[in-house]
Amino acid sequence: MRTLIEARGLTKTFGATPALRGVDLDVSTGESVAVMGPSGSGKTTLLHVLAGITRPDAGTVRLHRGAGVVDLGAAGEKRRSELRRTSFGFVFQQGLLVPELTVLENVALPLLLNGVARTDAAAEALRLLASLGIGETGERRVGELSGGQQQRVAIARAQAVRPAVVFADEPTGALDSVTSGEVMTALLASTVNSGRALIVVTHDEAVAARCGRVLRMRDGMVVAESGAPAPAAAGEQEPVR
């Protein structure tokens, strides 16, 4: 295992509301981390800061990549956007897939944004969909899929650029418990089992229980942490960017 994300002293305030107050966190390859806490505790802000969506007011977020270390807090908007496009994957609560695109095109979209040729992007997208057991849905529209299938497509999209870290914000929030379990299995299999890190923001204890570590937040601080960094599960590891 090697460190992927190293966050120190993260502080963020929105107006008069402190969202993060001196949060430290290390995340390594093959790790899964659940971030829990009541609404307004700062968990989504933490995810945004770690992913370079939002800059912290104070503190540092270092991303260790094969080519070196990047300080996300110091990087400009364009650079952070590029990093999100090339080094991170995202899964949101509602899937948030582009409704007019086919399933295959949705998964291929991040690759096209990175300049991959359309035929190559389509082939990779098809491989990812097949690995998640939904290869037959490629030509269908997002609206024709069930909630669970849509989240699998979102997971496939998040894997497309072979990211170092996948961030998931309430990925099972809109699903029933059975489908939620299936989606978590798919999410863990496609990240942790492939040597990637997974950071999940969730309210669901069952989801958190599937992760190697659980951080509990309140008032912008990590107030409890359970579980030790787990080694990557056995299996073929894909290269991470």
Binding site: A19, T45, E82, R85, F88, F90, F92, P99, L113, G143
Partner: protein
């Protein structure tokens, strides 16, 4: 919760303001300005004396029919945006127990209020514009004071715009689901049926048959009614085949798309060719008529040069009328595009925020939105112009040779119009920027 509290909650500012408030208001102002000026023009043409008076009246009515399409599109777009920008508060009101009927009524009232503000601004703007219109020369004389519509026209136009806004908002709400869980546009996309092409051919054949037998209709009033009817029918038919044509083009764009922006744009048009067509249909009709009438005017000017001064004046006047109609149509389409795009951004704000978080540059989102509008616009503008040129092919060639300036001016106006629509798209950039910025503030 009292009705007053509900109304107060409804009146609070939301994400996307002030652009989302200003855009429909500006759109309604432009509608009022255009209607008032056109009404003034028609009023002036009907006041023209002389032998050619009837011709001018017919031409002014044709311009009125042509401007009606973009005008209706713009009004409907403004009303839809006025309804959609309320989404969170509409949902909250539903959660608080307000009925769909009450929420719908508040939305209609709000759209009508925005329309009133815009219409009053447009009426005031027309007071500044009409003196310039009075300088326009038709039939050898300036339109002068005749361009001022009668006083009753002002409250009439303002009331008409408010009525249009109320009706459009009510109809537009049928396409929007008001539930406690949020406001969403109904996503059932109407299918484009090939039977439309068959109907189009039949209507065009019937119109051609009627036009070739005008002599059989006896009275001049019936002849004019038949001509205007045929004209309107052919325009309506364009609306039937337009989406089919755009769908065909979009399939080609999709096959050739190599970038994310082009893929998104092609799919956007293909997803709802009717909506893509509606947005630019006004230009298609005007472009067709502009070239058709422009060639006619150029040919008439060339034929009449040094000869019949009445024919020469009429030809020059047709050219002026075409240019004025063209500019007004493009202005309305540009406004409608701006308003539609602002509404689309607000409707898909969660998706845009998600794509931004996943690293899609805002310029790619802009590029996709722009291409999804400008590509169909180019197709319909150039396509309609080429169709018109082909219909009168021998005359086009002669006109181009004898009076190239007339056709060049019309081509320049078409190009400037496309630029105007592009400017309308640019005006919606702050709305997307606001949505992306607002999406970052989540604890």
């Amino acid at each position: 919760m009292t009705l007053v509290s509900l109304v107060r909650l409804f009146g609070r500012r939301g994400v996307g303001d002030p652009a989302t408030v200003a855009l429909p208001a500006i759109a309604f102002a432009v509608v009022t300005l255009c209607v008032t000026v056109v009404a003034g023009g028609v009023h002036a043409f009907f006041a023209l004396p002389g032998d050619q008076a009837l011709v001018y009246r017919i031409l002014s009515l044709i311009a009125l029919v042509l401007l009606g399409v973009p005008l209706a599109t713009l009004g409907a777009s403004a009303a839809r945006l006025a309804a959609r920008r309320r989404d969170e508060r509409l949902s909250t009101l539903r959660l608080l127990g307000a009925s769909t009927r009450l929420v719908s009524a508040l939305t209609v009232v709000e759209a009508t209020t925005v329309a009133l503000a815009g219409a009053l601004a447009g009426a005031v703007a027309s007071l500044a514009a009409l003196p310039f219109g009075a300088l326009l020369r038709f039939d050898g004389q300036a339109l002068g004071a005749a361009i001022w519509p009668p006083l009753w026209a002002y409250p009439g136009v303002v009331a008409g715009v408010m009525l249009l806004a109320a009706a459009s908002a009510a109809i537009g709400l049928r396409r929007v689901m008001l539930t406690p869980l949020g406001v969403r546009t109904r996503t059932v996309v109407p299918r484009v049926r090939r039977i439309r092409a068959v109907i189009a051919v039949l209507v065009i054949a019937a119109a051609a048959a009627a036009m070739s037998r005008l002599g059989l209709f006896g009275s001049i009033a019936v002849v004019i009614a038949v001509m205007l009817g045929c004209f309107a029918a052919v325009l309506a038919v364009l609306g039937l085949v337009g989406p089919l044509v755009l769908r065909g083009f979009a399939r080609g764009w999709l096959r050739r798309a190599r970038t994310a922006g082009r893929l998104l744009a092609a799919r956007s048009v293909l997803d709802d060719p009717k909506a893509a067509w509606r947005q630019v249909s006004g230009v298609a009709m005007v472009s067709f008529v502009a070239v058709f009438a422009g060639v006619g005017a150029a040919f008439a000017e060339a034929s009449a040069s040094g000869g019949d001064p009445v024919a020469r004046t009429l030809a020059a006047d047709i050219r002026s009328g075409v240019l004025i109609t063209l500019i007004m149509s493009f202005a309305m389409v540009a406004c409608a595009v701006g308003v539609n795009q602002a509404a689309a951004v607000l409707d898909r704000r969660a998706l845009y925020v998600a794509l931004d978080r996943a690293g899609m540059p805002a310029r790619v989102m802009h590029a996709a939105r722009s291409r999804a509008v400008l590509a169909p616009l180019l197709v319909v503008t150039i396509g309609a112009a080429v169709c018109a040129a082909v219909v009168v092919l021998p005359l086009t060639g002669i006109a181009l040779f004898l009076e190239p300036l007339t056709l060049l001016v019309i081509a320049g106006c078409l190009a400037a119009g496309i630029g105007l629509v592009w400017a309308g798209l640019l005006a919606t950039r702050p709305v997307l920027a606001g949505v992306l910025a607002a999406g970052l503030v989540e604890v």
